[in-house]
Amino acid sequence: MTLSQLRPVYVVGIGWHRYQPQSETSFVELGLTAIRAALADASVEWPTVETAYVAHAKLPMAAGRTILRHLGATGISIVHIENASASGSAAFRQAGIEVGCGLADIALAVGVDKPYPTLLAENETGITNLAEDAIVPFTHFALLANQYMYRNRVSAEDIALVAVKNHRNGAMNVHAQRQRERTLDEILSGKKVSGTFTALQCCPVGEGGAAVILASEDGIKRFALDASRSIRVAASAARSQRPYEDDSRYDTYLTAETTKLALGEAGISPSSIDLVELHDAFTVEELEYVEAMGICREGEAIHHLKEGGFDIGGRCAINPSGGLIAMGHPIGPTGIGQIAEIALQLRGEAGARQHRGSKIGLAHMVGLGAVCYVHLLQR
């Protein structure tokens, strides 16, 4: 059984609180701003929302009602979702399942986070390893970048072009944490982080909020919502890591198998996808994942990137929001913000960032663990 075999589910409202560096702003304000924007976008009154999924990975326990009560405490179900970087994607999927199976006609998925210190379960298992204390995410991906460079005979400068494109897109996005175009020289000459990565090739982990309102066809009719701005959720796939022949590339293999499931569910080929929002926490990931998804063939991502094929207006726009590198990665909101960006694009409301003629968009997140989510949205 897949989501698309249930009754149709639509994204009818989207909203953000800008992603930003850690500030004095309370998480309550971050969440409420995003939710009120999404409700207004959908022309939905809060009391019509029947169920809420709240994604966060770094906030303290039970944050949901401390936010939602300020909208008027209607007594609806509130579920908190923590799934590492993919928390928002997981919340969106669960909200979609609840609408799809008929338990609710109108649902909220909201992601909100602030970068509070958090323990990681993998460090608390009692299993020791040779040097895991020395390998934080940017080093894990720096090692993958080293492999990618040798496997495909590309340079560190080539890989940094991903950041040039995504900073350019982020510069046009009022919700992005980084809103400044950067030259290749600026990116390469920045602070060295790990391997060939410099700071501008790594995503900033700050704070923010993102919300979407989901609805069934019954909900759209019953509350007279604007069907012409509703975007269908064509597929939802979720997987977790299993043993692979080359365990060092598990994110890539996980992405390949999850994307294949989503494409199969929707009956769509990779060549039909107009835009992708993917987990580019570090530049090399974008190259690994577009190849794993089948957007281009293995080893050819740099060629397409250099030719402008992944630009807004190109063959398939990759991370038109700016991606995690420019948009930012506040964790809980990230996956929901991707859905909102794709809905915005498919409606044709993305302004300067509009990828014209978009009909199908793909949202992808991986999360520590590892887990992976792929959603397809279709106009």
């Binding site: 390893n129 040779l130 204390d133 020395a134 934080v136 720096a142 040798y150 790990s194 080359d246």
Partner: protein, 136 residues
Amino acid sequence: MKMLKPGLYALADDGSVFLKGSRCSCGHTFFPPQRYGCERCGRTDAVPATLRGRGKLAASAVVHIHSRPGRKAPFAICTVKLEDGPVVRALLAGSPDGLCPGTTMTAILTSISLEDGNKGLDLRFAAEMGASVRCP
């Protein structure tokens, strides 16, 4: 001298360093060792497996920023595909300059300063003597 992680590696009689992995009855060989259950089949009957400290370099990187206590940057990390199967990540002895994926690597024990101020031994990987791979 005391080893930092004696549960993970040891010296063989011939002076080489071996890793202490596990092997499940389903055939899955893994590192680090653990008794919770096999990731491939879920069985709990894995037995200790000696893994030779030798393999091919898959990747390397110099870490320039590191915030966790007890390890000062810069230092180098490598990924090695062991001849006995598992892929491991460990500290690299020296610089990765001139090391290319495919280089034969061997595990060595290096003298380090322990938290209590005494000296100890910890595992590193280094290019095997005489090993060379032409970088593309």
